[in-house]
């Protein structure tokens, strides 16, 4: 939902970042307003996942230039946990397995950290269990997964559902979903996408990072951005995704070649 007067949630300006001294992002610009769903598409190595990690504050990534404002605040100055508590959520492409840590306990500690930030009361075990059972509905998840260790032994689809369950509990204002569709069969994709659609509201925004059009068949984006060589090359509406589906990414190379001096070593 595009409303030109909606408040800006995230404003990325000329963002440059590197990992292991390898520059990956070369000047990303992106403005996201409340109510909007953005999709970032691009090939492997175009910098999509790096963008998501940098926004979430992964310590392995270094920002060398540029800025990110989240609701007017310098996001890059915050620790990962502070970003999460303020409402920035990263849905992982590969959710991490944590043996020995109960999923339920993890969800409760995370939810309470966010609630505390919002000035809400912490939930005790019983109250939290009521809440989590209600939110399980969003992704039609079996409560048995609450009793297991975080993501341990979960199938790909179960891990992604667990990600969306966390999103449902944390109620972020900006949700960045990194390849949430990867590894999902068509049924799981519908369930996960259904969850994302349910959680989208005029107050929050979603940034989908994906390779494929098929996710955008079930979640309709307001904007589609094509990323290449660490920057956003083109921005359009949902029809841009369809065009990519038809034409592939070859035209991207042509456009990149026309840009000079482009840092082509990225890949």
């Amino acid at each position: 939902m595009i409303r030109p007067d909606a408040p800006v949630l995230l404003e990325i300006r000329d963002l440059h970042a590197s990992v292991a001294e390898q520059p990956i992002l070369h000047g990303v610009n992106l403005t996201i307003r409340a109510g909007e769903i953005h999709a970032v598409m691009g090939r492997n190595g175009s910098g999509k996942s790096t963008l998501s990690k940098v926004l979430a504050g992964h310590p392995a990534y270094t920002v060398s230039a540029g800025s990110v404002l989240y609701r007017g605040e310098d996001l890059l100055a915050l620790d990962p946990e502070q970003r999460a508590r303020r409402g920035v959520f990263l849905g992982f492409q590969y959710p991490v397995e944590i043996p020995g840590v109960s999923n339920l306990e993890f969800l409760r500690v995370a939810t309470n950290a966010r609630r505390q930030e919002r000035g809400e009361e912490e939930l005790d075990t019983f109250a939290f269990e009521d809440l989590v059972r209600e939110r399980l509905e969003v992704v039609k998840m079996d409560p048995a997964f609450l009793e297991r260790s975080v993501n341990e032994g979960f199938s790909g689809g179960e891990k992604k559902r667990n990600e969306i369950l966390q999103m449902a509990l944390l109620e972020p204002l900006v949700a960045i979903l990194d390849e949430t569709d990867s590894g999902l069969d068509i049924d799981a994709l519908r369930i996960v996408a259904g969850g994302v659609n349910q959680l989208a509201s005029p107050e929050n925004a979603t940034l989908l990072i994906t390779h494929y059009q098929r996710l955008l068949d079930v979640i309709t984006p307001d904007y589609v951005h094509v990323m290449a060589a660490g920057r956003i090359l083109r921005t359009g509406g949902k029809e841009l995704a369809l065009e990519l589906e038809d034409r592939g990414y070859d035209w991207v190379d042509a456009e990149l070649a026309a840009l000079a001096p482009a840092p082509l070593e990225v890949g």
């Binding site: 979430a56 504050g57 992964h58 310590p59 392995a60 620790d79 990962p80 946990e81 970003r83 999460a84 508590r85 959520f89 990263l90 992982f92 959710p95 991490v96 944590i98 043996p99 020995g100 840590v101 306990e105 993890f106 500690v109 995370a110 950290a113 966010r114 930030e117 260790s149 966390q166 944390l170």
Partner: protein, 497 residues
Amino acid sequence: MVAVSWTEPVTALAAWGAALVADLDGAMDGAIGGDSDGAIGGAPELASAAGPGADANGADANGADANGAAGSRLPADSDPAAPSPLSASPLAPSSAGDPAAPALESRRQAQRRLQREPLPSRRQEPWRFTDTAALAAIRPARFSGEDRRLAALAAEALPPPQAGWCRLLLDGASDPLAGVSLPEGVEPLPDDQWAACLPAADASEEEPWIGAIAAAAGPLLALRVRAEAMARLELVSEAGAATGVLPLQLLLLLEPGARLELLQVHRAAGASLTAVQARIAVGAGAQLQHGLIAQGNDDGVFAADLALRQGFGSQVAFSSVVSGWGLSRLEPRLVQEAGGARSRLRSLQRCDRRQVADQHSAVRFEGPEGQLDQLHKAIAAGSGRSVFNGAVAVPRAAQRTDAAQLSRSLLLSDRARIDTKPQLEIVADDVKCAHGATVTRLQQEELFYLRSRGISAATAGELLLRGFCAEVLQELPEAAALWQPLHHLLGEEAPAP
């Protein structure tokens, strides 16, 4: 760091064992001198505790042992209120110096060994990575009267036993069975059956040195679990602020088909050595769930030699959690005598500051189709030093053995050190044996995942550490919860009960 410990007090090290034996022998000579109060082992004060019944039993024991008669001198259904024969004579020699008494002979061998051999040093292969300076600093003598008072004081503050569990308090001096009503099917082990638990007379040279400390004092407790019985036992030692040596030799026989849940708990808050030697024979088809919790302090030393012999078709699950000791050395040694048994080993050790935590485990299959599933975990923080050596022997007779050993260590500081070494000797050719070892820091991806959900770095680290421990803690017997093993492991103040 080590050189200093080992070049300087060499004479003291050589004399340590001899000094301890002299102290133990003082008690023993009195016993073997055999005055009319009955033959008493290491602790003369037992005589009065056990009362007059002791004399008769002691005499009886003499007869039984002297000719090796097989008959039990115990009534099948002994009155729990009556003092047990064993209580009167932790070590009941048949007569002074009679080598036919296996327990006495075993004790003498242990004493000779302590007299002959100095404290182990890093020049010896099994101690290559383990600094024994903390052990050398222990006064080589049993607890004095004042020490026993300190230990008793600490024991008063112990949590009450869990319902359904029978607790035996081991103070190294008084009779653990005094005033205790043993669970049905558990009874003192007649001393003519001690040999079933003791090592063969010619095997003592291969026994761990640390086992000799408790063995030199003689058995403190010897029990059997009757065939088909089911029981739960908690054996607790609390040294409190006492200093000196607490020798605990324990003999346990599980008859065929018996089932036992056993929890050993050893605690100390002073410069003491808790020296355990447990010899456990698990009969055919019997099941033992065995937990061990050892919670120490920077001056304390824990040394445990646990020898388990498994009969055909038996099942043993042994889980240990050792933390907080200046030096700990745990040697679980398991033999599947006829193969065809199942062994599950889980262990967790943590060392911090300048502590040394060492486990040397040894599993041997002497028949075919045995199974082993072993997981050893270690956490090294501060300048702590963790050592693991896991030996598995699969000789030719042990075809179709299925053994897996995994060592996972967590390094929490740059000054900490971890040495871990699987040691597989496989001669049989039709076997499945796997082993692996990892040493890692807290996983950055796991930390970031938790932090990206709003969990602070400190809480995330703690959650991961708890998760690391949980895998072993969850396998301890139920009564372990009383002892709050996680709090002790993480060095936290235990919450008020």
